[in-house]
Amino acid sequence: MTNDVRAEWPLYEVFVRGKRGLNHVHVGSLHAADDDMALRHAHDVYTRRNEGVSIWVVQSHLIAASSPDEKDPMFGPSNDKVYRHPTFYEIPDNVPHM
C-alpha cells in the first residue's frame, strides 16, 4: 500500500468570475500542494470551456462559515424587520415611478 504518500494535498475552494462585471462565484473544490498548483488545477478542472476570466483559490480551512444549525439566531432577525422591504410601504397607485 501507498499509505506513506497518503498525506493529502490541502483542499482548496475555487471561485470563478464568469465574465467582467460579475462576481466570483464558488464552483467547487480541488486538492493541490500549493497555491500555484491550485490555480493551475482550477484552470484545468473548472474552466475548460471559457467558463471564466478570473479564478480565486483559497484553502478551505481558511474560510469561516456560518453553521446551518444556527440558522435561526443568524438569519431569523431579518424576518422580524419587514420594514426593510419596499413592499412594507403602502403607496397610492396614482403616484408614478415608485
Binding site: 500549493d34 498548483m37 478542472v45 462559515a65 444549525d69
Partner: protein
C-alpha cells in the same frame, strides 16, 4: 456574533456539535424529511441519516470511479486516432472524463470521506464502477459507439440527477451534463462519417453497435423489482426515476438515431408498440451483467491494474510537489532578522 461562526473544516465532520445532542434524532429526521419533501437540497453540514450518507458515498464514489476508469477504453485510441482533428477531439473528451471524476470526488468528500480513501477503495476493489467500462474497445468505431450509446445512456441517467436531493452531487451533475452533450455528438458524428465511407467502415460501425447495445442497456441497472436500493434512494430524493423507466427512455431515443445512422440494433424483439406509445424490447442478459459486476467481465482486472499502476507511478510526483510546497512555506515563514529601526519602533511603542 463570533459564536455564530464555525470553521469550514467542520463542514466535513460527521459528528454533530455537542450542543445539539439535546435535539432528538426523531426531530432531526423530521427536519431532514421535510427538507427533502419540499424539494429543497440537503447541504454538507446539514444533519442527515447515516443510511442517506452511506448511500450517497457509495453512489457518488461509484460514479466518480466510473469517470476515471472510463478514460481507459477510449484513451487507448488517442495515439491511433486517424487524424489530428480526431485526436484533438478524443484528447478533449478523455480530459473531460478526468474532470468529471474530480467534480464527483469533490462532492463525495463533502460527506466526510477523503480522496485517498476513495482511490484506495477503487484500486482495492472495495467500491465498484460502471460495468460498461469492463468491455474492450476493439475497433476505432468503438470510440464513436461509446460516445453515441454509452454517453447517451449516461446522459439519460444523469439529467434527472441534476435535481438530486444532495446539493453538491446535483451541482456536479449539472456541470457534467453540459459537457456530456459534446461527448455524445462527437461520437455520433464520428459514426456518421464512417457510414459515409467504405463498406468495410460501415461493417465496423455495425459490428461495434452490435457489441455495445446490450451493455449500454445494462448501464441503467437491474430491473426495478430486483434493484435492492432503488426504492429507498427514490424516497430520499437521491434518484428521481426508476431504472426501467430510464432504460425505456433510452431505447425510444436511440431507435430513430440508429435509423438515421443506417445501423440496426441487435434485438429481434425491438418494435414500436402503438398501444404503449413506446418500443418493446428484449431483456438484457442479467446473468452476464451480474458476472461483470462481480469482477468477471472481459477487462475488470486490466482496468484496475492500470489504475493502480498509474496511481503508484505518480507517487513520486505527489511527494515532490508536497516537498516543494513545504519548502516554499518554510521560506515564507523565515522571519528576517530585526533591523535597528524595528527595535527602536518597538521600544517607542510606535507599532503597538
Amino acid at each position: 456574533m463570533r459564536d455564530y461562526y464555525r470553521p469550514i473544516g467542520q463542514l466535513f465532520a460527521r459528528d454533530l456539535p455537542e450542543d445539539h445532542m439535546s435535539v432528538t434524532t426523531t426531530e432531526l429526521e423530521a427536519g431532514f424529511d421535510a427538507t427533502v419533501h419540499r424539494g429543497d437540497r440537503i447541504e454538507p453540514r446539514d444533519w442527515m441519516p447515516d443510511g442517506y450518507r452511506r448511500t450517497l458515498v457509495r453512489q457518488i464514489a461509484q460514479h466518480a470511479h466510473s469517470e476515471i476508469i472510463g478514460m481507459q477504453p477510449e484513451g487507448g485510441w488517442i495515439t491511433r486516432a486517424p487524424s489530428l482533428r480526431r485526436k484533438a477531439i478524443l484528447l478533449a473528451k478523455v480530459q473531460d472524463e478526468a474532470g468529471h471524476g474530480l467534480y464527483l470526488y469533490s462532492a463525495c468528500e463533502t460527506l466526510g470521506v477523503s480522496r485517498g480513501e476513495l482511490t484506495d477503495n477503487l484500486i482495492e476493489g472495495r467500491q465498484k464502477y460502471s460495468s460498461i467500462f469492463n468491455y474492450p474497445t476493439l475497433s476505432y468505431a468503438d470510440v464513436g459507439t461509446i460516445g453515441w450509446l454509452v454517453d447517451g445512456a449516461a446522459i439519460c441517467n444523469q439529467v434527472p440527477l441534476c435535481r438530486t436531493s444532495y446539493g453538491p452531487y446535483g451541482r456536479a451533475m449539472i456541470r457534467i451534463c453540459k459537457e456530456e452533450s459534446f461527448h455524445q455528438r462527437q461520437g455520433y458524428e464520428l459514426l456518421m462519417t464512417m457510414m459515409r465511407g467504405t463498406d468495410e467502415q460501415r461493417a465496423m460501425v455495425q459490428e461495434s453497435v452490435d457489441r455495445f447495445w446490450w451493455p449500454a442497456l445494462m448501464m441503467f441497472g437491474p430491473p426495478d423489482d430486483e434493484s435492492p436500493n432503488s426504492a429507498q434512494s427514490m424516497a430520499w430524493g437521491i434518484k428521481r426515476n426508476g431504472n426501467d423507466e430510464l432504460r425505456q427512455r433510452f431505447v425510444d431515443m436511440s431507435v430513430p438515431q440508429a435509423a438515421a445512422l443506417g445501423v440496426t440494433l441487435p434485438d429481434p424483439e425491438l418494435r414500436w408498440n402503438p398501444e404503449r406509445g413506446a418500443h418493446d424490447f428484449g431483456e438484457p442478459d442479467w446473468t452476464e451483467f451480474m458476472a461483470v459486476v462481480r469482477g468477471n467481465g472481459p477487462c475488470n482486472a486490466q482496468r484496475i491494474a492500470h489504475r493502480r499502476r498509474a496511481h503508484e507511478a505518480g507517487a513520486w510526483v505527489r511527494e515532490a510537489a508536497t516537498a516543494y510546497a513545504a519548502s516554499l512555506a518554510s521560506a515564507d515563514l523565515g522571519v528576517p532578522a530585526p533591523t535597528s529601526a524595528d527595535a527602536s519602533q518597538r521600544e517607542t511603542g510606535v507599532r503597538a
